[in-house]
Symmetry: C2
Subunit: 445 residues, 2 copies
């Protein structure tokens, strides 16, 4: 068998759609990819996957690209899941982890979605793609399109961070700045798709970026299943922490060995990552690859998804608080966390459904605390924390104080990009020294 996709499915009404031809939306709303999970279960075990090369393509049976098609790859995944004891102590958490997506190609989580979407586009014969971007998606699309030999058109708001403008040009995309927001750029792409024959790669307007993002959830489950880091070890580091963890021995498959954390903080712009992870957890549960939660009545307890948005652009938080399933356009969107500057999301109901099904919530982070949290979190653990993730930490601190996150819960915060992609978000100014007249007191601070 060449792939495990059973069909595509309209998210808004469940209509079954065929797989293997170009697809964008159905009734103006996103499309799910559905798999023959029984056949996946028969074909591969989680232990076999754990022995494969460290790449998101290790989950090949849960990805749509047929097995005789070569992925368009820049070596993406797996990203490290880093235990953060120092930052955890500051926040009152014993098991705080950061899943560091900044180490992906082009320095952000956007590469996961683009690896999948561009691989599928190439397989389906697409020659030209286009997308609007709030920042990092443009660079990732340009890079993967270059790798695939596909022409790429990118439209970004005029005040998009300088690094995102730089990288679109670096990778040879036809990139433009637009006097508007990402939804204005999306309009140009929509018109151009009809007029110029572009394939529209917008977030959730084609089915496969979601499948790429899903691998964040697959990796998380596999990594927690290893008991990798931060489990109390009584001072003696675990074999895994010392880098000496062996993969499970051959011949002893142990279905049900992967695990999930208790809470996930995820910065939400278009929402593909959050929705993708929730889909990943459901597929893993159906495959039987997740360990049962002790004492949990229905077997497996899923993580609470905490969707974090900046106060300057928070359509999902607003809809969540109102009890709505669909979000209204957020007026006058404005935040330095450029990836969160998404005033309207076509997958709003998928995001809100996932948050509620998980028992999670949608929360605000304060604009005034973004730069401070970037530096506080980055300097506590040496991880390059982006402004979107800074928003998550601001929300996390308040939720711990309010008792909504417990001190011993396993909390994962997704760091979706590298901080230096956002030079404009954190003011910096290094003091100057005169080498011929050094002031040692000043150096000592």
């Amino acid at each position: 068998m060449n792939h495990y996709v059973s069909h595509l499915e309209a998210a808004i009404d469940g209509t079954a759609l065929p797989f293997g031809t170009l697809a964008n939306m159905h009734n103006g709303r996103p499309i799910w990819v559905r798999y023959h999970l029984d056949k996946v279960r028969a074909a591969v075990t989680s232990d076999e996957i754990a022995k494969r090369l460290p790449s998101l393509w290790r989950y090949r049976e849960l990805l749509p690209l047929p097995r005789d098609a070569e992925p368009v790859t820049l070596g993406e995944g797996m990203t490290p899941l880093l235990h953060c004891p120092r930052l955890g102590r500051q926040l009152g958490l014993s098991q705080l982890y950061v899943k560091d997506e900044s180490q992906l190609p082009t320095g952000s989580f956007k590469s996961r979605g683009m690896a999948a979407a561009i691989s599928m586009a190439k397989w389906l014969g697409v020659k030209r793609v286009a997308l609007p971007t709030a920042g990092n998606a443009g660079g990732a699309a340009a890079a993967y399109a270059a790798r695939a030999g596909i022409e790429c058109f990118v439209f970004m708001p005029h005040d998009t961070p300088s690094v995102n403008q730089f990288e679109a040009q670096l990778y040879g995309a036809k990139a433009f700045r637009v006097n508007g927001l990402i939804n204005d750029c999306g309009k140009i792409v929509k018109d151009g798709a009809e007029r110029m024959g572009w394939f529209d790669l917008s977030t959730l307007k084609e089915p496969y970026r979601l499948e790429g993002k899903k691998t964040m959830g697959l990796e998380l489950a596999e990594q927690f299943g290893r008991g990798l880091q931060g489990e109390p070890t009584g001072g003696s580091p675990s074999p895994a922490a010392r880098g000496l963890q062996r993969e499970p021995a051959n011949g002893s498959p142990s279905p049900g060995s992967w695990q999930l954390p208790d809470v996930i903080f995820y910065p939400t712009g278009g929402g593909t990552g959050l929705v993708g992870m929730w889909k990943a957890f459901a597929e893993l549960a159906e495959l039987g690859w997740l360990r049962a939660t002790p004492g949990h009545a229905s077997g497996i307890r899923f993580p609470r998804l905490i969707s974090c948005q900046a106060e300057g652009c928070a359509p999902i938080v607003t809809a969540y608080q109102k009890g709505e399933r669909f979000a209204e356009l957020f007026p006058n969107a404005r935040t330095v966390a450029s990836g969160l500057r998404v005033p309207v999301a076509v997958g709003d109901f998928m995001i809100l459904d996932a948050i509620r099904a998980s028992g999670g919530t949608a929360v605000l982070g304060r604009e005034s605390e973004i730069a401070r949290w970037m530096q506080r979190a980055s300097s506590a653990e040496g991880i390059s924390i982006c402004p979107e993730t800074a928003v998550c930490f601001d929300a996390l601190e308040r939720m711990v104080a309010a008792g909504e996150v417990k001190p011993d819960e396993r909390v994962v915060v997704f760091n979706t990009g590298a901080a230096p992609k956002y030079l404009e978000a954190m003011p910096y100014d290094l003091p100057s020294l005169d080498k011929d007249a050094l002031d040692w007191d000043r150096i000592a601070g």
Copy 2:
């Protein structure tokens, strides 16, 4: 046994020095770490290593950190070895690979050295480190020091790229700009080490950054041993290329399975990476982990090391051409490839010895071609090519034209950092569009 280090050894005269106490230089020159390779060979096989987690710490027996000490880690390594068929065709090479170090923590190869050096410094009780930097080393040191809870002082030339200034501050280092070059900054660190009790982390002035950089060579040998990518597959992608490569089965160790490429292009500032790789190859050969080269009289043919420098700062090229073992200070050093702006290297003789022993050479890249090659290489393959690596491509193109690199040789170019860390090196200017008056002809280009 707790570690496999036999002793330290002065590079200039072979003096044996004890392991386990703080060490900087001997007679003003660098120090090697030497191992009981016979005991390493008895303790572990290359196949066992290949089953470990994807991290540079998988090579633990060939690293100095004792096994009961926990590494200071941000999840570094392994980096992808990417076959580049499109760029290869442009250059007339069928087997061109880029080893993409931009996907490491802090976006550069400097993280390898700092992971090892900061881990060792922490184990040895160091509380305060200091270093001069031409750019990326400062960010990496600041990040790993933050992760370790060690105070970090960073001194950089006043015109160091903005991203490098940003990241030093992000990670909470005490960072300063200096009206001079990296050697002027090095003088401050030297003085401060005496006056302030800092541990001097300068390139090759302590023994362990070299050991961390050595893992570039170890990974390369392991990855080529897999037959990973770009071996002719007759149109049908190999299992490895499809991400489905299984690790070797248990119980069948096959010593001598790792392989080396034919030629390595490496941008050379301080030279730790080049020297570290050469050391890695020698250790692997002694361990018996390298496959014999068919038809090669003495067993294993090592790669030719091509040391690449920018014409504006080329002390190693100058010394190589003159037949010298030591390099003179290069006057008026000036290049946008900031990592190459190292006018004098304390390990000059180690670099020149390695180049000559390998049958390689030292070559110039043109300053005028740096921005062009960044964009040309990045847009051909979607890899984020830094200015230092752009210098390598300029040299490679001329060497292929001159017949000094053959069309079917396996050529590896190291991409030592992410291009967006060098915003100043490539001018960019995206055209603006008015969303209310779109000019479709202009968009179509």
